[in-house]
Symmetry: C2
Subunit: 398 residues, 2 copies
């Protein structure tokens, strides 16, 4: 039988993410990859986790291995809420649930909000996992270009005037993936103003916010929200470890309740052992000291990558200068195609993500590419970026 | 702002599962609960897991804590496939993915197949997590009564003749939740015959199949399927531990590929540490010896529950006699209401799941109730069932 005739309208049109296709190429031995978005594994608290995991399974194994609560392991949920309140992100009467990675928060909120044909505005470029999630609920995607201080709010307002079906705006407000850009306070306020005026909701995805290594903190959009229009997504993936699949999300009670029901039909609850390990770690050790270490390492790697680029890349290739997070974004002059460039780079055993994977129209040609500096070692950063510089000079004929 | 006006058509009508509401009552101290579906925590291999987890985090922490593959940790995926092939459930060219609990398999397949209004046939009674999942994709649910040897296939065929929108049939073929009934080989063959004739797909959910403590193995529907109409869901929750959220699923390649894409937008991948713990456990120890122990304990508890019921329940209250799994199902004479009975039982500190939670029309009145025998101790089983017998005599006035 032909099972494709049975596929739902939600998935018929979906394609495996192009990033995944790139990842398959990364199995090549000796490749230097700036393509992923993974933390530096040397910074995982492996020794501490090993002790903690053993202790939990020996002493609290009945809880760690049994069915858990859909909303999350209560002590971790409470700790997360207190931290977000202390950071000024949440009010004391806001509620938080633990989810199986930040991505699940986005998915649950999308399932709870998006009807086919509803408009979702995304920053361009944006995070492919967000874009694909909205696609999987048959949303109509609209892209608004990023500027140095966040989304182009004039272009956004024009779009809102034209399209009455816009229900949501998706923003990675701080150290954006892929651009590394942090939205200014003014733009954050403007987004809330527009949300009120045009009656849409804001998804604020903030998995990188804790990883600031320079500049000044900017308040989250959630912290400025007075009417409950912001749905907030956070993650333990970048501050602890992504393999644990731990994230958290906060939204108005009536929405959060629906998300919890959806989570129950999706995976019942989040892995209990990982929630308990995370909770033990953040209470036994100082999470702030741990994060300070991450900031230092990523800041150093980012600086090294930018310096090497400035030395080795053609002058006409520009890059963003992130103040935190895991990514920076490069732009070749118009007319050059980052997919072509990628093919040539792969021949030299260096990988990155071409801009096309971050755009709504992923069939078009873009001169941009994303570079991750968290995973590779300092030595690899110098070697890989130098090689990319050579390939760029060759490809661009400069 | 009123966020309820923004909710999607998928979740507007959803209600928190009534089982969850019952679970809240179970916080009552001293309660004896036959309401859950949890394994006996005394059987969790806690000591072994503690050693294994420590070893993994110390020696393979970079893999255990880093992003993983959406399809699952390759060695566990391979092991699972080999086991299913050796059990005759899969062919060598079938493919398997690891999912975050069996529930996620059902959700991913549903997202990939169900358009709003598509018909899904469920056994009545059935598993509330399945029913709620289909509801969350706006399926039209049809119930077909269970008989002692599985679904009533005559009633099913009549339904199929009447409704051309039926795309799926959901069956828990072995030790069904909640009834404990195992479908006969004849009925399994008949289902496949009807699936061909009326062109629908079969979800075979088999989380309990390994837990047989009496009677003869019956081949899975999947193993009898020649045309790829069966989507198979299995789980490590009942044979290892549910808190780990590990399940697996097999389907035709074209569907499995869509499910993988949906999984990527849903939780990216399954918790890596738990997958590695499970893999180490099943390779270092004998999973068959472990399962033999579970079968023995659950068989003994089931027998004890049935014997106590036969002694203490009014004669007119009937129960099924499962050959495995975690549940048996009781039926009071017509006219009695298991929700009323539950209220009275809770006053005596004993809990179970009323039949209404297992039915498509969950507003109606049912004389049935589900009893779990895996979680409670033998002492609690005798004490709780004896108390229930007293309440039943009182409630039924016999």
């Amino acid at each position: 039988m032909d099972i494709t005739s049975k596929l739902s309208d939600k998935v018929k049109h979906l394609e495996a993410s192009s990033i995944r296709e790139i990842f398959k190429l990364l199995a090549k031995p000796g490749i230097i990859s700036f393509a992923g978005g993974a933390p530096d594994p040397n910074l995982f608290p492996k020794k501490e986790f090993a002790e903690i995991a053993k202790e939990i399974l020996e002493n609290e194994g009945n809880t760690a291995l049994q069915y858990g609560i859909t909303e999350g392991y209560a002590p971790l949920r409470e700790w997360t809420k207190e931290r977000l309140v202390s950071q000024g992100i949440l009010d004391a009467d806001d509620d938080v649930i633990i989810v199986s990675g930040g991505q699940q928060g986005i998915d649950l909120a999308s399932k709870s909000l998006i009807n086919p044909g509803d408009g979702v505005v995304c920053e361009e470029p944006s995070f492919i996992g967000g874009l694909n999630c909205f696609r999987s609920y048959n949303a109509q995607l609209f892209g608004v270009p990023m500027e140095d201080d966040g989304i182009d709010t004039d272009a956004l307002e024009n779009l809102l005037k034209e399209h009455s079906n816009i229900k949501l705006l998706y923003t990675i407000s701080t150290f954006q993936n892929p651009s590394g850009i942090t939205s200014s306070l003014e733009k954050r306020k403007k987004l809330l103003e527009l949300a009120e005026k045009y009656d849409f909701l804001i998804y604020e995805d903030n998995p990188y916010g804790e990883l600031r290594f320079s500049g000044e903190e900017v308040p989250t959009i959630k912290s400025l929200d007075k009417s409950g229009r912001v749905i907030y997504f956070g993650s333990f993936s970048k501050i602890l470890a992504p393999g644990m699949r731990l994230g958290f999300t906060s939204a108005k009670a009536e929405l959060l309740e629906r998300m919890i029901i959806c989570k129950q039909t999706q995976d019942v609850h989040t892995n209990v052992l990982s929630q308990m390990i995370a909770y033990k770690f953040v209470t036994k050790y100082s999470i702030d000291e741990h994060i300070a270490k991450l900031r230092q390492v990523y800041g150093k790697k980012c600086k090294l990558m930018m310096e090497t680029m400035d030395k080795c890349f053609p002058e006409s290739v520009k890059h963003t200068c992130p103040q935190g997070g895991l990514f920076l974004y490069c732009t070749m002059p118009d007319g050059f195609d980052s997919k072509e460039f990628m093919k040539k780079a792969l021949e030299k055993n260096v990988a990155f993500v071409p801009g096309t994977s971050c755009m709504i129209d992923d069939k078009a040609t873009y001169s941009t590419f994303r570079m991750n500096y968290s995973t590779a070692s300092e030595e690899e950063i110098v070697k890989g970026v130098t090689l990319l510089g050579e390939v760029l000079h060759d490809y661009m004929g400069v």
